[in-house]
């Protein structure tokens, strides 16, 4: 009896140790890119796109690829944008990025410098890929690290009913007209304000989409030869314009901690007459308030400006992990997504504009506003100077903090721009 109990104890002990060792070993293994015994390669693809597309649509596009390439399987790792970013930052730091990754232009510089994402120029050459069909490539030192797959532009959204109620006949095309329209909308009562400015510092992309967009719309630039030039007259004029809107009391209250979703919600509820926002939100606004009478327009430019207008954009970019063992297969998948047919299909379901020059999105079943936006896009040029900059989010945040000081009357525009210039120079100078 005793002997049996002792044996049992030993057996349990041995099993426990074996199970522990196996568990620990399992934690350290799991190379996503390993080929199976039959030669099938499984590629992990981390992105936030699947979470933003109608359920099942992205899977169909992936299934078409795997049907054409039976030796390659795609494992989608879909999560919301913020979670994806956090996971990729951690994975890039530990050199464990999934084989193929969805990228935002703001992350590229840091990931490339860490050696986490691969030089795609070389992969394009190896695959004899014709890169002239790509609308744009995000490069660092002449090497491509990201290819924008779908672009989302940020035009001006205007609530036509509020504009009419305020007695403004035309959608503002210049800054003076915008200020005037915003004042008139704010004067209509009903707690409506002319404009929404989200300056939340947790995700400070309001600086890119809602502040610098005014600069780009007038052909301005915040950089000179790749170095910050925030004390230029054009940037100063932009910040002074935003300050004039604030001083006139036409900005919706709460802007210092307002998030992008708050801005969209206020526009949808008729609390704000105008906003600069992604086209991707058209469907959301229509779904939440089907009777909202609004249209999209080009961003107002400085009075007297007649040149082409830059229109801010954000991209669903794609890159390849530098540590994957299957770069050729990964690039095959990338080139599939960038092909004329697939890219057009993906742009259509995403309500974005294609990264392949030859792809034509199908607007036949879309809201007519997308067609209007595509025309605005073609008349101007895509502008986003934060793409490819190092620590882009941090640059936005430091500018955001200085702008908040200006808007709360704690600092002059000149001081804010000088401090921002100093701060940016320490990062990209």
């Amino acid at each position: 009896m005793t002997t049996r109990a002792t044996r049992l104890k030993r057996l349990i002990g041995a099993v426990t140790v074996a199970a522990t060792v196996a568990t620990v070993a399992a934690c350290g293994s799991g190379d996503s890119g390993d080929a199976a015994a039959d030669g099938t390669v499984t590629l992990e693809f981390a992105q936030w796109w699947g979470a933003e597309l109608p359920a099942g649509d992205f899977d169909k596009i992936i299934n078409d690829f795997t049907a054409q390439n039976p030796n390659i399987k795609i494992k989608l790792l879909s999560a919301p944008y913020a979670s994806t970013k956090q996971q990729l930052v951690t994975a890039a730091a530990s050199k464990t990025l999934p084989d193929v990754v969805g990228l935002d232009g703001a992350w590229v510089n840091d990931f490339a410098k860490q050696g986490a994402i691969a030089d795609m120029s070389k992969l394009m050459t190896d695959a004899n890929y014709d890169s002239s069909q790509l609308a744009s490539q995000i490069q660092l030192d002449g090497k491509t690290y990201m290819i924008p797959v779908v672009n989302f532009v940020y035009p001006l959204f205007v609530n036509k009913d509020l504009l009419t109620k305020a007695g403004v006949a035309d959608v503002p095309a210049t800054r003076s007209e915008f200020l005037d329209a915003a004042k008139k909308i704010s004067a209509t009562g009903d707690n409506a304000k002319g404009w929404a400015l989200p300056l939340d510092t947790a995700v400070p992309n309001g600086i890119q989409n809602d502040v610098m967009s005014w600069l780009w719309a007038s052909g301005g630039s915040m950089l000179t030869d790749g170095k910050p030039n925030l004390t230029s007259p054009q940037v100063k004029s932009t910040v002074e314009f935003v300050k004039s809107l604030n001083d006139a009391g036409v900005i919706a209250p709460g802007s210092l901690t307002m998030k992008e979703q708050d801005k969209v919600e206020k526009f949808t509820n008729g609390q704000v007459g105008m906003m600069i926002d992604s086209l991707a939100h058209i469907n959301l606004i229509k779904k939440n308030k089907p009777d909202l009478n609004f249209e999209v327009a080009a961003l107002p430019a400085e009075d007297g400006y007649t040149g082409k207008r830059g229109i801010p954009y954000a991209s669903w970019g794609i890159g390849i992990s530098n540590s994957t063992k299957h770069k050729a297969e990964a690039f095959k998948f990338v080139s599939y997504l960038m092909s004329q047919e697939t890219n057009a299909k993906l742009s259509t379901i995403a309500n974005g504009f294609p990264g392949n020059k030859n792809a034509e999105p199908d607007f036949s079943n879309s809201d007519p506003l997308f067609k209007s936006a595509f025309d605005i896009y073609k008349q101007g040029y895509p502008a986003n100077e934060f793409v490819g900059l190092p620590k882009a989010e941090d640059l936005m945040r430091s500018f955001d903090e200085q702008l908040q000081l200006v808007l709360t009357g704690k600092q002059s525009v000149d001081d804010a721009l000088s401090k921002s210039q100093e701060s940016w120079t320490s990062v990209i100078g």
Binding site: M1, T2, T6, K9, R10, I12, G13, A14, T16, V17, A19, T20, T23, V24, C27, K85, Q86, V89, A93, S94, D110, K113, Q114, G115, N191, L199, D200, T201, A202, V203, A252, P253, G254, S255, L256, T257, M258, D262, Q271, K391, E393, D394, R397, E401, Q404, L405, T408, K410
Partner: protein, 318 residues
Amino acid sequence: MTSAHVEPVTAPQGAPPAERATPGRARANPARRLIPYAYLSPTIVLVVVLMIVPIVMVVGYSFRDNVIVQENPVFVGFANYAKVLTDLDFLAALKNTAVFISVSTVAHLVLGLAFAMMLNTQLLSGVTKAIFRIVYILPWLFTIAVIAVIWRLLLDPAGVVNYVLQTLGLVQEGVNWLGDPGTALWAVTFANIWSGYPFFMISLLAALQGISADLYEAAAVDGAGPLRRFLNVTLPQLRPVIVSMAVLDLIWTSQQFALIWMMTGGGPLNTTEMLSTYTYKQAFSEYEFASASAAAVIVLLLTMVLAFFYVRQQQRER
């Protein structure tokens, strides 16, 4: 001289012979001595992999420069600590965190105790107490994300709180609770108090129900009124629970990240920046993992001071 006859103690018939763990046998079979460790090994491995290794790595990172983003970081001694401790943003975050956790903990305690006493009173019927018990515990059932969204909506300049205040004539126009640097810290602290008091309430209610009625009867016989009974019977009886809960709450609240991040992101003008949000920004926005590690180690040390008091309190109770 008498002598006692002592019967030798023998094992009953049929009982298994007792195992004697003599040193000689243990030496003869050293594997047996490892058996207890084998049982403990899953826990030991988890503690080492999930706690010891990450802590050691973070401490190591805090003494090097440009960790993670560069392949060959160099040893820089205490330079990262000096940088963090002289950073005005860090010092502001330290001050905000001190205000946030101390006000939250005191309010959790006061509200939790008040509601617990209400639920323990004989003055209300069982049904009334059951209804209030459900109402009071509701905030505890929401996740932090939901709490952040609810309070962002309620505290919006055009939200319900301002509507009520305006209707009552207490304010003339909507207050910008989260966007005004003067009110933002108090607004997030209020949301944190709202979300955290039920845990105090439940714990103190359990402790109140454990206080013997004899003590109250004896105090009443001695002529003690309600206030005297509260001060001289209730509070001394609750003291061990209150001290333990307060220390634990200080530790938990100091680690609050999600609520702040989702409500204000540390703004406006850094007025709600906490040590947790400061560390996050250093790591995931500025990619300064070395500074972030130094900040995290400082937070760890501050938390360990609180943990020390908690452990000492627990030992004293035993």
